[in-house]
């Protein structure tokens, strides 16, 4: 029993891990294809049919490039930076429920690595840890531009964590649970949280753009001012890790948004479909639906990147502290009042 359980979790985590890496890998291609589409170009189409092997070619290129470690840098931390970035990006998906319990080979398997009862806070903790990869890398490079990028990243992440946390609090007032599994279950069918928390979702969405350092909040790597930002001195696969971590972060934050606000693996009429196709394919179809939602969010991330120009730094700080935080607090008060009134009458 014990060994079977460990084996089951091991296989499941490996599958999820591989899936998130593959999604992140093909996000790089999707990004370039979408950029090309929005700019009326063709995009990468040389490697394989329609450019399908472009991510592999990029990966090989990254691996084979010369590895340069600046002489004046702090060597251990220089390597630790990108490692930490990719580590924090990967562990975020541990608490996301990918689907209802599925019956496979006569066994009921939970499609979630672990259902800890502080799931949301875990995600929040991982997000807040993510900034260390950037900061350590930027500082260890011993380069002014890298340091500027790292410091921008740190202040941006701290500033946007606050409205993000506050928007989650309003959501928690509704769900009464910190477990992502419970939250996903409560949104059964079409009872999605986004209908009750539209403002909270908007704030969360904006903050996740800032937390993943995506345009219009990509000031840490603002190439017009800072050469390459925190990864100016990086080459080879260590640069690859930073770039890759961004895509994994995007995948995980899309999954979190889909789970918290857009029903996760739930879709209208799922009970009917489940009774039709049985307990094996039903939950797997739910997982497919969740992935569709995730891809929609990833597309949205890319769409915004190629549509909206970058903020100025003071605008970014004003938006975070003077607009989003008051809005998020107002959202909490509003939600609390409405819940109290509903409970009363």
């Amino acid at each position: 029993m014990e060994i079977a359980f460990v084996l089951e979790k091991f296989v499941f985590i490996t599958v999820i891990f591989a899936l998130s890496l593959v999604v992140a890998m093909y996000s790089t291609l999707a990004e370039r294809k979408i950029a090309a589409f929005l700019q009326d170009r063709v995009g990468p189409n040389r490697a394989g049919p329609g450019g399908m092997f472009q991510p592999l070619a990029d990966g090989v290129k990254m691996f084979l490039k010369e590895e340069i470690i600046p002489t004046q840098s702090s060597k251990f931390l220089f390597i630790a930076g990108p490692s930490l970035a990719i580590l924090t990006a990967c562990i975020g998906s541990a608490v996301i429920p990918w689907g209802q319990d599925v019956v496979l080979f006569g066994k009921t398997i939970a499609l979630q690595a672990t259902d800890i009862n502080v799931g949301i806070l875990y995600i929040f903790g991982v997000v807040s840890l993510g900034v260390y990869g950037v900061m350590i890398g930027g500082w260890a490079s011993n380069n002014k531009f890298s340091l500027m990028g790292a410091i921008r990243a740190a202040s941006q992440n701290i500033s946007y964590e606050i409205p993000m946390g506050l928007s989650i609090i309003a959501l928690l007032l509704l769900t009464n649970s910190l477990s992502l599994k419970d939250i996903a279950e409560q949104q059964h069918g079409f009872n999605w949280n986004v209908f009750y928390q539209p403002l909270g979702f908007l704030i969360f969405l904006i903050c996740s753009f800032a937390e993943t350092n995506r345009t219009p909040f990509d000031l840490p790597e603002c190439e017009t001012e800072l050469v390459g930002g925190y990864h100016t001195e990086y080459s080879s696969m260590k640069l690859g890790f930073y770039l890759f971590a961004e895509y994994i972060n995007m995948f995980v934050s899309s999954a979190v948004m889909a789970t918290l606000y857009f029903g996760g693996y739930n879709y209208p009429g799922m009970d009917f479909v489940n009774s039709l196709i049985g307990p094996t394919w039903g939950p797997l179809l739910g997982m497919g639906v969740l992935f569709l939602k995730i891809f929609a969010f990833i597309f949205f991330f890319m769409w915004v990147r190629w549509t909206i120009p970058r903020f100025r730094y003071d605008q970014l700080m004003n938006l975070g502290w003077k607009v989003l935080i008051p809005l998020a607090i107002a959202n909490i008060v509003l939600t609390g009042v409405v819940i109290a009134l509903v409970n009363k009458f």
């Binding site: 009862n117 806070l121 875990y122 500082w139 340091l147």
Partner: protein
């Protein structure tokens, strides 16, 4: 139990490194690792909420600010001014006094009665929330007021400088 000793050893080891490392940024990084070992301690005690809050607040927010400031200051061994000898002697005397005090208090130490936990799941969010908002509501509210006043004070100080 063995796990506890391993984690306790790591906590002490890294907190010693905080003191002994020459570079202040390295010190802060060791401090972050020390806080991470504290998080593991909380998890071993089945206090999940406290663990994750320690993780978010100390590791994710406060230490980022520490690191932030130290990176901006750019302290190096070369830029560090040499302290006068008098200051060093005073430091040694003060440290010795602390050591004597600690040793004295250690001698007066006796093994306390072990606290028996009423409910093993006390550290879970639900139970903690119930205790906090029923039994300790007044201290909770007062401490939140205290934090608010500290925040207002910090903003006021920052405004004055500008």
């Amino acid at each position: 139990m063995n796990l506890f000793y391993l984690v306790a050893f790591l906590s002490i080891f890294f907190s010693l490194l905080v003191i002994f490392s020459k570079n202040p940024v390295h010190s802060v990084l060791y401090l972050i690792v020390t806080f991470f070992t504290f998080t593991i301690h909380y998890i071993l005690l089945n206090a999940q909420f406290l663990a994750i809050v320690n993780f978010i607040v100390y590791m994710g927010a406060i230490m980022v600010l520490f690191l932030f400031v130290l990176m901006l200051l750019n302290l190096n061994e070369e830029t560090e001014p040499l302290k006068p000898t008098l200051l060093k002697v005073m430091g040694v005397v003060a440290g010795m006094c602390l050591l004597v005090t600690l040793a004295g208090s250690l001698k007066a130490l006796s093994v306390s009665e072990p606290v028996v936990l009423q409910n093993a799941n006390l550290g879970l969010v639900k139970n903690l929330g119930k205790v906090l908002f029923n039994q300790f509501l007044l201290p909770f509210e007062i401490s939140s007021l205290l934090l608010l006043s500290a925040m207002v004070g910090a903003v006021l100080l920052a405004k004055k400088e500008a």
